[in-house]
């Protein structure tokens, strides 16, 4: 590979395409729409490949992400977030709604009224429910109340969505998927009791999206599945051969069973869930662990000192949480068959507003 410096983010395009096809096929086989979350890759080229593989539209986390993808020609965008819409954000939403099919999340009557006041009624909404992650979202049985208020305020209530983030723990994906299915069923019934027929019932996370749990959902919104990461590995959601993104790093210091790499938290992100076994994994060396992380250093405990890499050698690091690693980079170096084929811009990097 013609890569003249490290650290840098490498995407294996062949593995990426396989991951896209597998998720698209699984959704198709179950009769579910796929609306992948673009926050993971923030990359126009990957979003195009997702649509080419059969995705119906994109999910984004922020209005500024929506603006980037609208500028790139994507015309069906869902901001899966309970936006607080003031005058400035309202003006941006109005502008967006004039050129794409736009849907946003709400999780309160106040939020719905605020949206109408500043952005008008041309934007579709879906009600966020809490299916067990206890972050944002109303209780499933309150869905109808919030939906009714939004409807009375003039909004087009399109349905309900949730993020089963509690799937991110060992042995949790199965039970989280079942809780999610139950919560979505309750929420859909609550909507119908309020006289609103949902056109979308949306759920799914990368650890749960391929589990064939019976559900009333009509749509899946996984994000991380495109690349995989060390969290997904440790949750058992993917295997190492599914990892499409790694950070190429160089050994800058070595002693005994320790190597230090030039990729730290400013490249990998500092994510480390309580259950994670380290700050990332090393491709091809499943027993190695990143035991400490500074901004520009990853300290790796090597399992066998006799095979320890030496100064100047390059390793591929699997970040714990790939969404945060991508957001730290300006571009992704794309390889296929061991050759650099394309450089993709992280077009929505830093789009937090």
């Amino acid at each position: 590979m013609d890569l003249d410096t490290t650290p840098t983010l490498l995407v294996d395009r062949d593995i990426l395409d396989r991951n896209l096809a597998r998720m698209a096929e699984s959704a198709r086989a179950r009769g579910l729409s796929l609306r992948p979350h673009a926050k993971t890759h923030k990359c126009v080229e990957i979003a195009r490949r997702q649509l080419d593989a059969g995705a119906r539209g994109l999910t984004v986390a922020t209005v500024s992400e929506a603006e980037v993808f609208a500028d790139a020609g994507f015309d069906d965008l869902f901001v899966a977030y309970p936006l607080w819409v003031d005058a400035a954000r309202g003006a941006r939403l109005r502008a967006l709604a004039g050129r794409v099919r736009l849907t946003v999340g709400i999780d309160s009557e106040t939020g719905a009224r605020q949206l109408v006041e500043h952005a008008g009624t041309t934007i579709g909404v879906v009600i966020e429910i809490d299916s067990g992650h206890h972050r944002t979202g109303v209780m499933p049985e309150q869905t109808g109340t919030v939906a009714q208020a939004a409807h009375e305020a003039g909004l087009d209530v399109r349905g309900v969505f949730t993020f089963p983030g509690h799937s991110y723990a060992p042995d949790a994906p199965g039970s989280a998927a079942r809780e999610e299915a139950g919560a979505l069923a309750t929420a859909a019934a609550s909507l119908r009791a309020a006289g609103i027929e949902p056109s979308v019932i949306s759920g799914g996370s990368s650890p749960t999206a391929l589990l064939e749990v019976p559900t009333v959902a009509t749509e899946l919104r996984p994000g991380v599945y495109v690349f995989g990461d060390a969290q997904q590995l440790e949750l058992g959601a993917v295997s190492e051969t599914d990892i499409a993104l790694t950070v190429l790093a160089t050994v800058v210091s070595a002693r005994d069973e320790i190597v230090v790499l030039d990729a730290g938290s400013k490249v990998l992100g500092a994510d480390r869930a309580a259950w994670a076994t380290g700050y990332g994994r090393i491709l091809g060396e499943p027993e190695a662990r990143i035991t400490a992380l500074s901004e520009h250093h990853a300290t790796v405990q090597w399992p066998n000192p006799s095979t320890r890499p030496d100064l100047g050698q390059r390793l591929q690091v699997i970040p714990n949480h790939v969404c945060n690693a991508v957001n730290l980079a300006d571009e992704l170096i794309t390889v296929s068959g061991g050759t650099v084929v394309e450089r993709w811009k992280v077009a929505a990097r830093g789009c937090n507003t």
Copy 2:
């Protein structure tokens, strides 16, 4: 304040200037040079203020950070990192050395030879030692051996440096500062025994830099002191009135004793040391804790439900590790006396190579 969107990074310029003056005065009173680490702010305007306050030069972490500050006119730069210098990085170092006084770290004989092979001998080096953090650096008593090899390879060995990163733990700053002082003394003696008189003996971290521990050091390299952060607060190195950087965030969801803010790990960084009490702190609400962090959500446990902020209210979040928060932003909004006065570009954002 005229701030039309959140999340955004606010810098209180008055507090910043007070922090700069205090560190500069402390160093001056002890006869130490100050070479602050620019990785924290990555910002030309702040580096200028540091030099105006009496700093001698800048420390940076990467060659690309050095390039940004050299382009901005800074002429004395130290890359405090044991660089692995291949042909590409060597060419960049040669170009830099042609226009600034450049010093880089080394921690091995192999690294020294590699530097000479690809970047020549016009770059000064200082030997990194391990003073207890166990990341990079040679043992203090080996300093002379590495220095001798570097000298024989033709390099100008200017001295020794260390980072007492083990100061980042509760009750650790004092003992870490004493270990650092001992290690620097051993390293300086080892250098002199090898026939090399150090012109610089460099140490210091923000938790230790203001401690008046007797030391042979000639130079301090603190970084975080410019802004402070929740880690420094919890280590007792600063108080809340010293916090110069906060993230302005909006309440997007609220229930019972929980508020959810629109600033997550893509704004604050995901840093959470094992000893930290949360993912960040709320300015003016010392008992509130960020108990969970997603990419665009901070879940805050509020101490008193009756004073809990409501939807749309704005709070100022103190990030755990300000260096990583700054590196996620493109600009810093600077305020003075409650008014926005300047917008400073994070000029070296993402400079990881």
